[in-house]
């Protein structure tokens, strides 16, 4: 900003100059995952329900796509997206009660959301692969 007096005080963060921290990544990821589910996973969910309600042929088409390699890739992807949004969403709810604003603890909880989402995704798909036979 032109004409601003030069002072030794720190400026508030500038739009294009900031340091990547895990808290910021979690915040942005929460938005991206929520909106990705709204525009992607929701459509697949509706396809599944409507196919089941339509009949065996419509459902067979859904299942053949869902259990193909690309369908499974998308399935694993949205599973992670959901668990990540769930973990950062729970973190949001905790912070709404005024807790977890201590810098170290806040950073740790941000980091934990990523660990939790990966562990839950691996666990879910390990069970699916071992019990569903695809």
């Amino acid at each position: 900003m032109a004409g601003r007096p030069i002072s030794p005080r720190p400026l508030s963060p500038h739009m294009t100059i900031w340091k990547w921290r895990v808290h910021a990544v979690v915040s942005m990821t929460h938005r991206i995952t929520g909106n990705a589910m709204a525009m992607g996973a929701v459509v697949l969910f509706l396809w599944w329900l409507i196919a089941a309600a339509t009949g065996p042929e419509a459902y067979a088409l859904f299942l053949s796509v869902a259990t193909g390699w690309f369908g499974i890739l998308v399935g694993i992807g949205f599973t992670w997206v959901f668990y990540q949004h769930m973990a950062s969403g729970i973190r949001h709810l905790v912070m709404d009660t005024g807790q977890n604003f201590d810098l170290a603890a806040n950073r740790a909880s941000a980091f934990t959301t990523f660990i939790a989402s990966v562990v839950l995704t691996v666990a879910t798909w390990a069970i699916i692969f071992t019990t569903k036979g695809f």
Binding site: N35, A52, G55, M86, L93, I127
Partner: protein, 126 residues
């Protein structure tokens, strides 16, 4: 705090005539989503098979159909509020009006189709 009355402050209504209602419903539906989505994942993973017959038999039970209907309401309501925030942050003018209209149509049409599919199965028509 501004010059509003005590009652006005309690109700949280400013000039927008809508205070923390959006924020609060986003939290209420977040808790709903948490419970219902975990229920859905557990239920599907526990089904012996995901073929048509198994899924229809499962969804015919009231203990599955009712939570599924609640899930559709909670999830669609939640992301309706969430995507609105995205549109308010990044779109302006006519694009925002069109975006909001498209969002409302998408949510209502999608939820209606989902509810209809569950009811059709639950009431034995599929």
């Amino acid at each position: 705090m501004g010059a509003g009355t005590e009652l006005g402050r309690v109700r949280g209504l400013g000039s927008a005539k809508d205070g923390v209602h959006h924020w609060w419903l986003q939290r209420v539906t977040a808790v709903g989503n948490l419970v219902l989505m975990l229920w859905l994942i557990f239920s599907l993973v526990r089904l012996p098979s995901l073929d048509h017959a198994s899924v229809v038999l499962w969804l015919r039970q009231p203990v599955a159909a009712v939570p599924m209907l609640l899930l559709i309401v909670s999830v669609f309501w939640h992301f309706r509020l969430g995507v609105q925030v995205l549109l308010e942050d990044y779109s302006h003018g006519a694009a925002r009006v069109i975006g909001m209209l498209a969002l409302n149509f998408y949510v209502l049409a999608g939820a209606a189709a989902g509810v209809f599919a569950v009811l059709k199965i639950a009431l034995g028509a599929a």
